[in-house]
Amino acid sequence: MSDGELTAEDVPALTAGAMLYSPSLAPSSLETTVAWLTDRLERDGALRLVHPRTLAPDVGCVAVCVIGSGAALADLPPTGDEFATAVRELEQLSGRPVGAVLPLSAATVSALVPAAVASQLGVPLLDADGMGRTFALIHHTAMHLAGLPVTPLVVAGATGESISLRVPDAWRADALLRAGIDALGGWGALAAYPSTAGEVAAASLPGTVSRLVEAGRVLLGSSDPDTVVARLAAVNGCRRVGRGRIVALEHLSRPTDATIPTHPSSVVVEQVGPDARQLRLELRSEVVAVFSDGSLTAAAPDLITLLDVERGVIAPLDSLWPGDLVDVLVIPAHPVWYSAEALTMVGPASHGIPLDHPRRR
């Protein structure tokens, strides 16, 4: 990646970084999207990757992501027009032409599709996003915390159908969309947060796309887990909580609430070494907390991810097996997520774990 450009050669690193910031999917589930983005960048040339401040403040912007299940997308891949359709329909609803695109959440498949749609539309990709990782709901963004409305929004499906939505209260958006997403096949192309470059510059998290490429290069540059952790520490403050073998995968391990997709589950890791602590990872779509011998060690909004020690690659949450040897890694989120308001929205209590975040104890 040269300054201000994203090329086809950057896609492997972008993908590896996207998996670090959300280990929810195996790389094979991204295979089709990766091939699509690579092909687009080879056909259309390098994509402009710019900080929102470099654009005129009144340039129209829109946040794009996959809403719903990446596993569903892997089984029902996009035909290629869904994201552009969602952006074009949102332009009509908002009355503002789109001159730049940013990821709603720069992680997993949602880090890749904004680049593909920016290439399709011939507009720059903003080096910024709304989450700095992935949270469960579309109003869990820095833009929402800054007061930008999530709607109007448009979701377009691989079925050729689309849904548009306006809500006065942002938190209602996911609730209203959920049944529609199921009917579209489990995922949809979302275009939301119609805004200007000036608003995005003030409200989004800057540098999060280029950070993915940087982190991805670390992951691709070594398969030695100790080297990877040490190098990631320099990029994003990554630290290792422990290394151990997965000994149990449990389901419905906490009360389920209807507001967040994916039922609660748990992964138990027996740490190797003389202290042999037990690490208990609480999961929703991401790892939301780590307990070490019963003590809360890390929790959302911290990004908690697993590194497959034998292979030196991120261990996807949809492919875990008892017996896997993993490093449990914790990466701090953007500081905006540790405010009292943000912790109420995305902290451990929002996942049914009624404990203060370790940073606030």
């Binding site: 029902l76 290629g80 489990g186």
Partner: protein, 465 residues
């Protein structure tokens, strides 16, 4: 101590009194066969004959020699069989089939029929992402239809379009057709309807339908059925050749042919004819098991020499190799069938290094890990190890499904049903009825899906008949 997986094998036979098993491997340019027998006093196996040959009739020559040696050896009967029963012969075709996949000019071209709500509007999404898979495909059609992951219909099957596609297929007259429908792992109705229509129009064609293999991800499912149908004729031909040798040489005692699976297990010759892609991806997989068997270990980490230097590492647990989905080509295309998980070993992960990775990482205190598995460094020839692994390969099955649960009881029921289906598959693959047991079960929540959506994977192993 690091056990070494080497053999005393050679053209000479050693004295033994136990049952003998034949394992063989066909690879580009040659074939190898071994005769092995279980060690009487300890676990594992030992090699009593190694036979190698080159040329067009290499397979016949090595199989004939090995079978002859096995028949001549005194036989007190297998542990689970009667004295003088058929000789077990397990053939590993993996290296040969992978060679064919990389040479599409040696295979019949494939026609792909996708069933999806809409056709791709971007050329990159209208084709398969893997160049290797795409090189096997000459024709493509899309029939509107399909389901979601949990089997809910997304679009009615477009029967008029299906009729038009079938007419075009009949004109093109491909010998190999791959049918893959969105969501067919959860609801195969559309895919079956299309496959039946194609079969009616092309009765001589080999049709492979994705729901027969389960799994997840349209790219992986399409790659699986493309490879399956493309390799069908080759597997048929090779099984014919091997069975002809067995008929000629086994005499009244007889011999039973099975084929090696990519996950280090085995399946019956008939099952291999109907699902040839299950035979793909063997080769190094059985070599992992072979090395563990020669070292007499049911649980270990095996290091095999890599062709380009260094080592490949794999794990063995309960006598079976650890697996993950098979990948072919570079850049890799994933299939939905399992293969032995092999990774390049890092120097710091090699035996004897104080920083082997199942020790704690730096900064967390050093110390030995109680109960860690031993390492086996394979120093026998890879083809010989593969043949040993093939000879002792158990009939296995693998299931990978998406299901919906509402309670812990639901999950238990889903797992029970999956185990029953996997057990039936293991029996179809040649396991003695009643011998199959669950090797591994994994259930994980599917991220960002409706609450209660789980991915269930089951591995079942049996004892060969």
């Amino acid at each position: 101590m690091v056990p070494a997986a080497s053999s005393n094998g050679g053209p000479e036979c050693s004295q033994h009194t136990g049952p003998s098993f034949v394992g063989a491997q066909l690879r580009p340019g040659g074939a190898t066969a071994v005769v092995v027998r279980p060690r009487g006093d300890v676990s594992g196996a030992e090699v009593v004959l190694v036979e190698r040959a080159c040329g067009a009739d290499a397979l016949e020559r090595v199989l004939g020699a090995a079978l002859g040696a096995a028949l001549e050896a005194p036989d007190t009967g297998p542990p689970s069989g009667s004295p003088g029963g058929p000789v077990s012969v397990v053939l590993d075709l993996g290296p040969h089939l992978e060679h064919l996949l990389h040479h599409p000019e040696l295979l019949d071209p494939v026609a792909v029929v996708r069933v999806a709500p809409r056709a791709g509007t971007d050329p990159a999404l209208a084709r398969h992402p893997s160049a290797l898979v795409e090189a096997l495909v000459r024709w493509r059609w899309v029939v509107p239809g399909g389901h979601d992951l949990l089997g809910r219909e997304l679009r009615l099957l477009a029967r008029s379009r299906l009729s038009a596609v079938v007419a075009e297929l009949a004109e093109a007259a491909p010998r190999c057709v791959a049918v893959v429908a969105a969501g067919s792992a959860g609801q195969p109705a559309h895919e079956r309807h299309v496959a039946d229509a194609v079969q009616a129009a092309l009765p001589g064609a080999r049709i492979s339908a994705a729901h027969d293999f389960g799994g997840h991800g349209s790219a992986a499912r399409e790659a699986t059925v493309v490879a399956d149908t493309a390799l069908g004729a080759a597997v048929d031909h090779l099984v014919d050749r091997a069975e002809a040798v067995l008929r000629r040489r086994a005499g009244r005692r007889g011999a039973e042919l099975r084929l090696c699976r990519g996950d280090g297990g085995s399946l019956s010759a008939e099952r291999a004819r109907t699902a040839p892609v299950l035979v793909l991806g063997s080769g190094l997989g059985p070599a992992v098991l072979g090395a563990a068997q020669l070292a007499g270990l049911d649980g270990c980490r095996v290091l095999l020499p890599a062709a380009d230097g260094g080592h490949l590492v794999a794990g063995v647990r309960n006598g079976l190799a650890l697996v993950r989905p098979l990948v072919v080509g570079d850049p890799p295309a994933e299939l939905v069938v399992p293969a032995v998980a092999l990774d390049r070993a890092r120097p710091c992960g090699l035996p004897g290094r104080p920083d082997r990775h199942d020790r704690p990482g730096r900064g967390e205190g050093a110390g030995a890990l109680d109960g860690r598995v031993p390492d086996v460094v394979a120093d026998a020839e890879p083809d010989e190890l593969a043949c040993v692994g093939a000879a002792v390969a158990r009939p296995l099955s693998w299931l990978d499904e998406i299901a919906a649960i509402g309670s812990a009881d639901d999950l238990a029921a889903v797992q029970r049903a999956a185990v029953q289906r996997a057990t039936a598959l293991a029996t179809a693959n040649g396991a003695e009825p009643g011998s199959a047991d669950v090797v591994e079960v994994s259930s994980v929540a599917v991220p960002y899906s409706r609450a209660g959506t789980v991915r269930v994977r089951v591995r079942v192993g049996g004892v060969g008949r």
